[in-house]
Amino acid sequence: MYGNAYIDPNDKAAAMIANEDPQKLEAFEKRIAAGEKIEPKDWMPKEYRKQLIRMIEQHAHSEIIGALPEGTWITRAPGFRRKLALMAKVQDEVGHAQLLYSAAETLGKSREAMINDLIIGKSKYSNVFNYPAFTWADACIIAWLIDAGAIINQVANAKGSYGPYCRALDRICTEESFHLKYGHDNVVTLATGTQKQREMVQGALTRWWPPIMHFFGPSDKISNHTEILMRWKVKMASNDDMRQQFLNMYVPKIWDLGLVIPDPNLKKNEEGVWEYTEPDWDEFKKVINGGGPCNAERLAVRRNAEERGRWVREALNTTESKYIVPLA
């Protein structure tokens, strides 16, 4: 599950293709325009490689870190069936990280380098996972609505241009469909349950609405920079388009359950476009840069896991191992 890669809006478009061989660039863009995929050893612009590494790596980190707030609830999930289901979901998320790290590696950044950048806090991951899951209902809202947002993003990106990323996403989307159903089932159970259960799920929705609105990232004006990324099929839809798609699909389903979305300005206008209170982007920036309620805990837990597993990995290692970049 994942939102959207955080792209620095200050990146300059002109610098993106400076010093690239114009003939190779033309052939590359022609191939993408024709709907062909780019494979690891093909020629590609440096910026294409850089943006894809950043994007796929952030996606992988999000799967790993996203498993932490959900994993919290495994031991306390109500009932044996829900414990099993949540364990399966968390295992899926960690498996998705493996698939994504593999796809990113084909672009030349080693897995160790990616993990190192995560645990020192250099790499980003989806902002929503810097918030805590206070109650079981929070875990249910995450499984339903955060995964719903992730699917919208991932289905779009699966039609991108980089072969290994598309193949990983196809597999991921299949598994995410179970997460969505599982999450919806849990939310429906609470929303159609006792007064206390309804209050719980309403509380969770109220807490999670702002992060959900942040999920797809700030509004991206059509800059030359975005235009090139879209032409290269690195970015498949604007952040606002994905947010609209999400609202269109899920607001009616939330309202169906008689739950209240904590935004008095939320409505669909006559042109069929959702209007809403502009999310607090200063809060978003603060959290993504390390100032959220759980950033420090997430990374400390991650470092702890790496450190405690290290001796096992070392004991299994053999001197004859030799790393080469995977093929596909």
């Binding site: 494979e39 050893k41 093909d42 020629w43 932490l68 994993g71 919290t72 031991t75 295992q91 498996g95 493996q98 698939l99 593999s102 590696e105 080693s110 897995r111 160790e112 993990i115 190192n116 645990i119 020192i120 805590p132 899951a133 206070f134 193949r167 990983a168 597999r171 598994e175 420090a296 805990e297 400390a300 837990v301 470092r303 702890n304 790496e306 450190e307 290290r310 990995r313 070392e314 299994l316 290692n317 053999t318 191992s321 030799k322 790393y323 080469i324 970049v325 995977p326 093929l327 596909a328």
Partner: protein, 121 residues
């Protein structure tokens, strides 16, 4: 010490400032390419890679990663460095020329001859 909403994290007594040495090269081992067969009678197909210290572990990870929802009946793992692969830049090695029609079913047209023969009889 982290006081977390997650009781497991609190029990693990993790320091919030716990810098660790960066992972060394090969900490995550080398890679294996994984092939699976969806059902008996199908070809084995490449599905992705796993990182593993040896073939047995690669097999276990491959099974977990690619076969855990009953999509496989058989799995192969091969060290990435043992795969000898062609380059996309050399894909012209697969080009063929129009003269090689003798290798295609469409290169054989007999109806014309048969019809001519029948008329002549």
């Amino acid at each position: 010490m982290i006081k977390s909403l997650d009781p497991r994290v609190t029990r693990a007594e993790i320091e919030i400032e716990n810098p660790i040495a960066p992972l060394n090269e090969l900490d995550q081992w080398e890679t294996y390419e994984v092939f699976h067969q969806k059902k008996r009678g199908d070809q084995h197909m490449h599905v992705g890679i796993v990182h593993a210290p040896n073939a047995e572990m690669a097999f276990l990870f491959g099974k977990e990663q690619y076969g855990r929802r009953g999509f496989s009946v058989n799995i192969w793992v091969v060290k990435t460095r043992d795969v000898f692969a062609s380059e996309y830049d050399d894909s012209d090695i697969f080009d063929t020329v129009p003269e090689k029609q003798y290798r295609e079913a469409g290169g054989y047209k007999v109806m014309e001859k048969i019809n001519k023969y029948k008329k002549g009889v």
